[in-house]
Amino acid sequence: MKPLAGLAVVIVTAAAAAGCGGGTDHTITVYSGREEELVAPLFELFTDETGIEVEVRYGDSAELAATIAEEGENSPADVFWAQDPGSLGAVEDELDPLSDGILGMVPERFRDSDGRWIGTSGRSRVIVYNTEALSEDEVPDSVFELTDPAWKGRIGIAPTNASFQAFVTAMRLAEGDDATRQWLLDLQENDPKEYEKNTPVVEAAAAGEIDLGLVNHYYLYLVQEEQPAAPIANHFLEAGDPGALVSVAGVGVLESAGNASAAERFVEFLLSPEGQRFYVEEAEEAEYPLVEGIDGRPGLPPLDSLEGPSVDLTSFGAEHEATIELLRETGYLT
C-alpha cells in the first residue's frame, strides 16, 4: 500500500501549506459576493495603503451567507461584503454593530437601522431597452404600465435573481401584497421571458430577443464592454415607482472576527474618498458612490434625483421569505 502512504503525505503537506495562511494581525479574511473582476483592484489599493493583507473568498452572495450560517462561530471570515441587503440581513445575527463614526458616513437610507451593515455602493433598478426597437419616450415610466397587453412577449425578467426579488419586496412594502400579487399575475399574462440573471437580460435586449428588461443599471456597461456596438440604453423610472428602487451592495464585520480592528479599517477604506471614487473613475460597471460629496459618473442621473419607493432596506432580509412565497404563488418560482 505504498502509493496510499505517499498520497497521504502529499495531502497532509498540501493541507498544512494551505492552512498556514491567515491568522496574523496583518491579515483579514473577506467573503466577497461582489465579483472579483469588478472589485479586486480595491483590495489591492487597501493593502497598498494599510499594509494589511486581504484573503478573499469570492462566491455568490446568498451562497456565502449560507456558508457563514453553517460555519457558525467557527467562521474564518472577518468581513462579509455582499451584493444585496437580503444576504446581509440573512446573517445579521452574526454581525457586530459598526462604530458610529463609520455609520455616519452614509445616508441613513443606505444602511441597516441597527448599524450591523452599511452600504458601499448604490444601484438603481432601470428598464434596459433595445434602441432599434424603441425610442426612449416609448419606454414606460412606471413598471405598472408593463402589464398593458401591448408589451406581450417583449419583456425580459430574472425572477430567480436577488435583485428582481428585492424589487418585488420594494413593491410589496410600498404598494401592499394584494397590489403586488395582481401586478405579478397581470405581468404573467404578458408572457415575460425569464432569464437566469441580469446580464443575460441585457444581452437579450441587445440581441433583440426582447424589447425591454427589468435590471440594475450597471449591467449595461458590462455588456457594452463585450459588445461595444450593442443597441441598448437604460431608462430611469419616475420618482416613487417601485421599479426605481435604489439598493446597495453592503458590508458588515462578523462577531467571530479574529481581527476586528483591521476589519473595521477595511470598511472605513471602502467608504473613504479613494474607495468611493473607485466606482466613478475606475470600475467598469459605474455604480453610485454613497458617501456625500462624491458625485457619480458623468452621464448618470445624480443619486439624489433617483427616488424609488420609500422603503427601508433593513427590512429586506426579514421580508425576503414572504416575497419568495408570493413569487411561488404567482408561478414565477417553484
Partner: protein, 544 residues
C-alpha cells in the same frame, strides 16, 4: 512483499478456497471495516440533510404541496429523456469505434469522449449562443428568429452532451474486454451475426450500459447550471432557489432528500438490469483480440453518424467558444493564459481521481466477491449522495468541517474529499465494470497457491482490473476538472481553478475572456482521454 512464516503458520489455504466466492459472511474483516469507513464518510451529506430537516416542522408541509410533486415529475422526465438520448448516441458510437473498420477510429473515440470535459453550464451557454432565437445560427441563416431551444429540450440536449460520454466510455470498455468466443460460439451454433449480436453481445453489454445510464441519471438529478440557464424547473433548481431565499434551510434539505429517494429508485432499476447480464470468461487460456466487422457500404452512414454526434456535441460548443474568443480579439479585450489555474485544476482533480479509486476498490471487491445483502447494501449506499447538487454537498462539508475538523477546513484536502464524495460512483463504476468481467477463478488460484487475501488483492485483482481502475480514476478526474459549486465554497482561499476562472468571467458577461479557460479545459483534458484508450490497447496487446 513475501509471506512471512508467521503469516503462513496455522493456515490451511485449502479450507478457504471454496468459501471465497459465495460466503459473504467470511469477507475479511479489514476489507469490511475499510469499506464501511469509506461509506460512512460518503454519507456525511445525507447526515447533514437529516439534521436540517429534523430541526424543522416544515418537511411534511412541503411534501404535501402539489408544486413539489410537479418538480419531482419534471426531474424524472428530464432524467429519463437524457438517459434515453445518451444510450442512443453512446452505444452505437462505442460499437463503431471498437468493433468495426471505421476509418480513423482512435480519433472518433477520443473526439466522442471529449464532450465529457465541457462543463455542462458552458455547454448550455454555447447552445444558447448558437441555437438561441437570435443566436449565431439565426445570424448565419439570415433569418429574423428561430424557434427557441430552451426549457425541456434545451436542457435535454445540453445534458446529453455532458453525460453521454459516461455511457460511451463504459460501453467501450465492455466491448473491448468481451470474449469473442461467445459470439463465435453463437454463430457456430447457427445464429446469424445480427442475431448473435442481439442474443450474445447486447445482453453482455447490459451491465456497462446500465451503469453508464445510472451515472447519467444521477448527474442529471444533480445539475443546476443547465436547467437554470435553460429555464426548466427541477428539484435541483428549486433547491438552489430555496437556499438563496436565505432563511429556513429545511425546505431545500427536504427537496434534497427527495432527490436521494429518486436515487434509490434508480439504483434498484440499475441493479435489476445488471443481474441479468453477468458474464465472466471462465475458459482456460488467454483472451484473443476482437474480430473486426467490415462496414462495407455502411461506412458512409457510419461516418455520417459520427460526424453528427461529434459536430453537435464537440465542434459546435468549441466553435462557439472560438467565435467568442475571436470577437474578444476584435474588440481588443485583454487575455491572460491561465497557467496557474490549469496546474491547480490538474493537481486537485488528479488527487481526486487517485483517492476515489483507492476508496472504491474495497467496496467493489466486497460487493462483487463477497456478495450478500449487507455488502450489496453497503455498495448501494455509496451512491446515495451522488444525485445531490454540488451546493448541498459543499454546505454539508462546511457544516461538519468548520465544527469538527477545522484544521482541514478550506484546505486542498477537504476540496479533494468533496470531489471524491461527489463523484465516487464514477470511480466505483469503472472498477466494478472491470472486476465484473474478471473471473474469480484467478483469485481463487492465487489463494490456493498460498497467497493471503491482501496479497491476492494487490498482486492479482488490482492488475487484472487495471483498465477499469484507470477508467474510473479518469472519470473522476474529468468531472472534478469542471466542478464548480463545491470548488467555490471549499477551495483554499486564492486557489483558482479553470472552472472558477470560467465562472468569474461569465459572471460579468465576459464570454470572450471566459472562452480561454474553457478551451484550455478541453485541451488539458484531451490527453487523459487519449491515455484511457491507449491503456486498453496496451492491455489487450498484453493479454492477446
Amino acid at each position: 512483499m513475501s509471506p512471512t512464516p508467521e503469516s503462513l503458520r496455522g493456515r490451511n489455504p485449502r479450507k478457504r478456497i471454496p468459501a471465497l466466492r459465495n460466503s459473504a459472511g467470511r469477507a475479511p474483516l479489514p476489507l469490511v471495516v475499510t469499506a464501511g469507513l469509506v461509506v460512512a464518510l460518503l454519507l456525511l451529506p445525507l447526515a447533514y440533510l437529516v439534521i436540517r430537516v429534523a430541526g424543522s416542522g416544515r418537511a411534511l408541509e412541503i411534501l404535501g404541496e402539489s408544486s413539489t410533486w410537479r418538480l419531482v415529475w419534471n426531474t424524472v422526465l428530464l432524467a429519463a429523456g437524457v438517459v434515453l438520448a445518451s444510450v442512443l448516441v453512446a452505444v452505437p458510437l462505442a460499437w463503431l469505434v471498437t468493433r468495426t473498420d471505421l476509418p480513423a477510429r482512435r480519433l472518433w473515440a477520443t473526439a466522442g469522449a471529449l464532450p465529457l470535459v465541457i462543463p455542462s453550464y458552458v455547454a448550455a451557454f454555447c447552445l444558447l449562443g448558437f441555437f438561441g432565437e437570435r443566436g449565431l445560427l439565426a445570424e448565419a441563416l439570415g433569418v429574423e428568429r428561430l424557434p427557441e431551444v430552451r426549457g425541456y429540450w434545451g436542457s435535454l440536449i445540453a445534458l446529453t452532451l455532458a453525460t453521454y460520454p459516461y455511457v460511451f466510455l463504459l460501453t467501450q470498455t465492455a466491448l473491448r474486454s468481451l470474449d469473442p468466443s461467445l459470439d463465435e460460439a453463437a454463430r457456430g451454433l447457427g445464429s446469424s451475426s445480427r442475431r448473435a449480436f442481439w442474443r450474445v453481445t447486447a445482453p453482455a453489454l447490459r451491465p456497462a450500459v446500465g451503469l453508464g445510464a445510472l451515472l447519467v441519471a444521477l448527474y442529471t438529478f444533480s445539475d443546476f447550471g443547465v436547467v437554470s440557464l435553460m429555464d426548466y424547473d427541477t428539484l435541483t433548481r428549486s433547491i438552489y432557489v430555496q437556499y438563496r431565499s436565505l432563511f429556513d434551510r429545511a425546505p431545500a434539505a427536504t427537496l434534497a432528500l427527495l432527490l436521494v429517494a429518486l436515487t434509490a429508485v434508480v439504483l434498484v432499476l440499475e441493479y435489476r438490469a445488471r443481474q441479468r447480464g453477468r458474464l465472466y470468461r471462465t475458459g482456460p487460456g488467454t483472451q484473443r483480440p476482437q474480430p473486426v466487422v467490415a462496414l462495407g457500404r455502411w461506412t458512409g452512414p457510419a461516418l455520417g453518424f459520427c460526424t453528427v454526434v461529434v459536430g453537435l456535441f464537440l465542434v459546435l460548443p468549441a466553435g462557439v467558444l472560438g467565435y467568442w474568443l475571436a470577437r474578444g480579439i476584435v474588440n481588443e479585450r485583454e487575455f491572460t493564459m491561465p497557467w496557474g489555474e490549469t496546474l491547480n485544476s490538474l493537481g486537485a482533480s488528479g488527487l481526486a481521481g487517485a483517492v476515489a479509486v483507492l476508496a472504491a476498490l474495497p467496496i467493489a471487491v466486497l460487493a462483487l466477491r463477497h456478495p450478500s445483502p449487507s455488502s450489496r447494501l453497503l455498495e448501494r449506499l455509496s451512491y446515495a449522495g451522488n444525485a445531490l447538487p454540488g451546493l448541498v454537498i459543499a454546505l454539508s462539508l462546511v457544516f461538519f468541517a468548520a465544527r469538527y475538523a477545522s484544521p482541514v477546513y478550506q484546505t486542498l484536502a477537504l476540496l479533494v474529499f468533496a470531489y471524491v464524495v461527489r463523484f465516487f460512483p464514477q470511480a466505483l463504476a469503472g472498477v466494478e465494470s472491470a472486476l465484473e468481467r474478471v473471473s474469480p477463478r484467478y483469485e481463487e488460484a492465487a489463494r490456493s497457491l498460498g497467497r493471503g487475501p491482501l496479497q491476492t488483492f494487490a498482486r492479482v485483482t488490482v492488475p487484472l482490473v487495471r483498465s477499469g481502475v484507470l477508467a474510473g480514476a479518469a472519470l473522476v478526474f474529468l468531472s472534478a476538472m469542471k466542478e464548480l459549486p463545491a470548488t467555490l465554497l471549499l477551495r483554499p482561499i486564492g486557489f483558482e481553478t479553470l472552472a472558477t476562472e470560467i465562472w468569474k468571467l461569465t459572471q460579468v458577461g465576459a464570454y470572450s475572456q471566459a472562452a480561454v479557460p474553457a478551451l484550455v479545459l478541453i485541451v488539458a483534458s484531451a490527453p487523459i482521454l487519449y491515455l484511457i484508450s491507449s491503456a486498453h490497447r496496451f492491455e489487450s496487446g498484453q493479454a492477446g
